[in-house]
Point group: C2
Chain length 271, copies 2
């Protein structure tokens, strides 16, 4: 019998109140196989110590979140973003994360087409560093409601175009159901992405959503056809983890160990 | 010298606290040429009396908001939606509104592709009634953040596809900068829409947006390139009103006559 929790990964941001040590302990005890580490959870211990803890735990590090935020209004700020992405690549290598998820960035008032150009240039600039470190860079299209200040890459089509233009096996895409579920071209673009799909994030969309950032819900509690999107991703050749990434003020106020149990149930029943 | 307020239209929902009579009076005094009437502002007086008031005022009625909401989980509810749209068409005719804006509808848990199919069928079903009444039906793509419960039509491309498949001079599209500004295919789809652009709505996107429904801001207070989008719409052949449609709890709490003065300034300076 297959383990029903096989391929389950949880983002440390999903259990935001937990330190990295608590998350490692909590996930391992709950039988979760994979962990995606957010940089703010790495920071207190540092990447080196965190890497040792993670290797010790037996958890599989699925990815590091997050790099990106390339566009800026000044050259100095664009350079700073490149330095920060190179630092993230080093951290990913320290914790054996095979990839970094890129939230590509946007700046209110900066033309979106210009922002997209700066994103491609930014990825190209840090790509040699990533290739040398053996870390892949994964472009995550973000929901259009984040086009003002978080990402100018708002459809999988746009992300695929960037992967095409960067033409490196070290660059791919992340499909997060929360960001892309509404897109009439989603199936087509998932098939187009094919093997360049490097990771797959799940959660659900609440109706009504009360907060644009921190009101995601568990799989099955919203309107996203998660199983259908998963089937497209798997038809495209993806065989990796299903990563549970839920930002929720409501859930963060609860007991996190019980939340992990709820995640396990929702994972089995609705993903 | 051209009147700098030429082609300014305000939606009654923009000054939501005002009754229709107050809006008519306030707009006329302020030198606003056009009015788009929301059905909730028609309801108290009824369409017949409202039509008389509007004709008396000299304001040009630009459109009636809103029809749509075609998809439903049961046949009975779909039929009810058709009846309601036919009633809206009759109201539009009563007040000399040349078109009805369609917020096409979506139902949480109803597959988006199925919802889109029901939308096209719904428009087709009420189209003869609209043609007979001399009222056009304008499909307004809504921002993808409303794909769960308000509209399964979330890009201008999708709206254009529907216009193509309905193939009637009485069906067109509404371009609202708030809903479409993020779209990388916006320029292409505006040119594709061409003369089927029946109306053009303006406002701006606040960063950060604190409420998904009622936190729109005045032109110039956000990040939308309104003038660029306007230039595309005009290149496509559109010569109609620029309709100010702002839902804002903050603004609705203020003096509405002063708000109208702010709208006039923003219209001249940023649209």
């Amino acid at each position: 019998m297959t383990n029903p929790l096989s391929h389950l990964c949880i983002h440390t941001m999903t259990t935001k109140p937990w330190s990295l040590a608590q998350a490692i302990d909590g996930y391992a005890k709950a039988g979760v196989e994979g962990i995606t580490v957010w940089r703010q959870h790495l920071a207190p211990a540092g990447a080196k110590a965190a890497g040792a803890m993670l290797r010790e735990s037996g958890l599989k590090v699925v990815s590091l979140c997050r790099g990106g935020f390339f566009p800026a209004l000044t050259r100095a700020d664009r350079r700073k973003a490149l330095d920060d992405n190179r630092a993230a690549i080093d951290e990913a290598a320290e914790i054996d994360a095979p990839l970094i998820v890129l939230v590509c960035g946007a700046v209110p008032g900066l033309d979106l087409a210009e922002a997209r150009k700066q994103i491609v240039e930014g990825i190209a600039a840090v790509l040699p560093h990533a290739e040398e470190a053996g870390v892949k860079l994964s472009i995550e299209p973000l929901h259009p409601m984040y086009a003002d200040a978080r990402s100018a890459v708002n459809t999988l089509e746009e992300a695929n175009n960037m992967v095409d233009s960067l033409a490196s096996p070290s660059v791919g895409v992340t499909v997060d159901v929360y960001h892309v579920w509404w897109d009439p071209h989603l199936e087509r673009e998932i098939h187009r992405a094919g093997r360049s799909i490097l990771s797959f994030h799940i959660c659900d969309w609440r109706t009504p959503t009360r907060d644009m950032l921190n009101d995601r819900v568990l799989m099955g509690e919203g309107c996203i056809p998660i199983r259908r999107i998963r089937s497209w991703v798997e038809q495209a050749g993806f065989r990796g983890f299903r990563e549970v990434e839920i930002f929720s003020d409501e859930r963060w106020a609860q007991d996190q160990a019980r939340f992990v149990e709820d995640i396990k149930r929702a994972y089995v029943e609705h993903s």
